[in-house]
């Protein structure tokens, strides 16, 4: 694979758009030689990041947009997802593994991203997510 590749998309806050973009990104990563296990981890993280941006960030307001940009540097994948919402403090999200929070829809996505990515960070406002992962490359 070449040393550095990039992609960038801006989509409306619609879940169908999110699915379409995810397929494009995964297709690109597959073409670059990433293996199925890493692709699964990345797909889950991208899905969760985009779903949070669209549902919680932009509140499903189709007039608002979500920007997704990625840099693939060798075996390292870095992705930023930014919404036009008011942001949030990740520290305020309840722990979804506690029994009293099982019914709550928030928190599980962030936990999954933490589990499957090496790095997950939000900007101070909480409307821009950065996820990173070092992957194996399929021979």
């Amino acid at each position: 694979m070449s040393d550095t590749n990039q992609f960038g998309f801006t989509i409306q806050s619609e879940l169908a758009e999110s699915s379409r973009i995810q397929e494009e990104i995964i297709k690109l990563l597959r073409k670059l030689g990433f293996n199925d296990e890493d692709l699964a981890d990345l797909h889950i993280a991208i899905e969760e990041g985009l779903a949070n941006a669209i549902k919680h960030g932009n509140q499903l307001d189709a007039s608002k947009q979500v920007r997704i940009e990625g840099v693939i540097d060798g075996n390292r994948v870095m992705i930023e997802i930014e919404d036009e919402g008011n942001g949030f403090n990740p520290e305020d999200v309840p722990d979804p593994t506690l029994e009293e929070n099982l019914d709550k829809p928030s928190g599980r996505g962030i936990l999954l991203m933490r589990a499957f990515m090496d790095t997950i960070e939000y900007n101070d406002k909480g409307n821009r997510l950065r996820i990173e992962k070092s992957c194996a490359i399929q021979g």
Binding site: L15, A16, S18, S19, Q22, E37, A40, H43, I44, E47, E48, A51, P96, T97, L102, D103, P105, R108, G109, L111, L112, A115
Partner: protein
């Protein structure tokens, strides 16, 4: 059920319902909504009480899909039924463990084991 399920395959025998997911990925929100509605209909429309969910064809699923699963579990519990999951691939097992859902659901390695235990 208004129409035959399209996202899950349903087999019933001796009061036990085995629902096998047809999708390899439960990520897409439209698919997840359909799957959720088909699961809820098992209890609401068909009156199923003993249900085994077979994940043998599922590679991975999102937190949104897990939300549907948790709601379905509650529905089963509300009718004093029982629910077992089986056939989880390693990636799914990891997801359940990360979210501590392996403590919430009764999970078996195989459908045969679920059929014995339910």
């Amino acid at each position: 059920m208004a129409s035959a399920p399209t996202r899950i395959d349903i087999q019933q025998a001796e009061g036990i319902t085995v629902a096998t997911f047809k999708d390899r990925r439960l990520l897409d929100e439209v698919t997840i909504d359909l799957v959720g509605n088909e699961l809820y209909a098992l209890v609401d429309d068909l009156g199923c009480e003993k249900v085994i969910l077979n994940f043998s064809d599922v590679e991975y699923m999102s937190s949104s899909a897990l939300g549907k699963l948790i709601k379905f579990h509650k529905k089963i519990l509300s009718v004093a039924g029982s629910l077992r999951l089986c056939g989880l691939k390693p990636e799914l097992q990891k997801i359940f463990k990360v979210l501590a859902l392996h403590k919430v659901f009764k999970i078996d390695k195989s459908l045969e084991k679920s059929l014995k235990k339910i």
